[in-house]
Symmetry: C2
Subunit: 238 residues, 2 copies
């Protein structure tokens, strides 16, 4: 059955973590708002009218009659149905734990340019964003990516991916986190990268997966921009 992804158009955003999983698995899906003329109306209708299990916010996925919201919950579901997570229950929850840490990092990235209020313009919180950015660049990037570097440095996991032999949705998401951080904070990432050789190698390995490589060259891959989560404001880098 064709899966339906619902997400805001024009930005990679949180929807991109879901797209990467769908693309790697070669799953049949429609990116509804981008691919169909009435997609936006359909998204709004579900947000307003969906009965018992309304999504809190996009992205959400429609799988048959079921609606699933929250990026990490969507990936938990797709991990099982598209073979992007181990079957062993503890390894499966380990992959989810890594994903939730990526979700936390993504929320902090957004907080850098919107420290005061998500509803206010960046222009109205620029001095605060500058202070938030410095702390994020100097403390949080090395903390988050350093944790993944440490995981990748442990050979007990039994393979080149985060959870061992097979690529998981957490690998795909870590790739996108790295790409996003490089876009938003090129100078800071250049400073941190020498301490993160394994994370960088993993990002390269994801980029080279045949399905991902094909996707990245396709028009389906949206460029990062300043409407999204990862925004390049030169005044926030350094």
């Amino acid at each position: 059955m064709t899966l339906q992804l619902y997400y805001w158009p024009g930005l990679p955003g949180r929807g991109e973590f879901v797209r990467l999983a769908l693309e790697q698995a070669g799953a049949p899906y429609v990116d509804l708002v981008r691919d169909t003329p009435k997609g936006m109306a359909a998204l709004m209708e579900i947000m307003e009218d969906e009965g018992a299990t309304p999504p809190f916010a996009p992205p959400f996925l429609k799988d048959g009659k079921h609606i699933i919201g929250q990026t990490a919950a969507i990936l938990l579901h797709l991990g099982d149905t598209l073979n992007l997570t181990p079957r062993d229950p503890f390894k499966r929850i380990w992959v989810h734990q890594m994903q939730l840490t990526i979700v936390d990092a993504v929320a902090e990235v957004h907080n850098v340019h919107h420290p005061i209020a998500v509803s206010a313009y960046y222009e109205d919180q620029k001095p605060e964003a500058r202070r938030a950015a410095k702390a994020f660049r100097d403390e949080r990037i090395p903390k988050f990516l350093g944790w993944f570097e440490r995981i990748l440095g442990n050979d007990e996991r039994g393979g080149k991916w985060l959870a061992g032999r097979s690529v998981s949705y957490a690998d795909l998401s870590l790739f996108h986190l790295v790409e996003g951080l490089r876009y938003a904070f090129p100078k800071a990432m250049k400073r941190h990268q020498p301490e993160l050789p394994r994370v960088m190698a993993l990002a390269d390995a994801v980029r080279d997966l045949p399905n991902i490589a094909a996707y990245l060259k396709s028009p389906r891959r949206l460029a990062f921009n300043e409407d999204g989560i990862f925004r390049h404001y030169p005044e926030l880098d350094g």
Copy 2:
């Protein structure tokens, strides 16, 4: 087997969402840092030395030889093993989706008193916190709790709890979110409560569960305080 919960002492924090699940299920557990003299050393040792699956931050749970971090991942695991989530896969992921939305709300609550940097003192970001608090009180509290009110208003779920007939970890967490918001923002919550009768009734129903009622009266239940996530700074309420 006795479960081991690892969390910072002296504050309810994110550990409390895990405690509530353990208490409701009557699970044998040790709150390691609080209950054992060398608990803090054990926590630090796992943070620094745990090999293949290190936790990013407390809380984390030790179940046999397995370590699980991230509040929502711990609850996903306990939901299955302690019968605090439905068995149907889509209902199970729906409960998780609600939990992840509570996790988002909790992160935003923390951001209110630390909008610039988690590593800086509240005293060094007070004017920013004041602005962040206003947006959180006026926009985010009604958005988050209003979503749960809408869910509870739909009778299709087939029972008094968020996911129907049986209490789930999301119900317990929603109770704690409401308690925390009432502690931190008593004036704002007084304004919003009339629009949230079902959420308030659910919080009352959780409070009255025999195991939870006994727990809340016990010394195991920590009071909210200004080291935690939910902090009552009068200047941030209104």
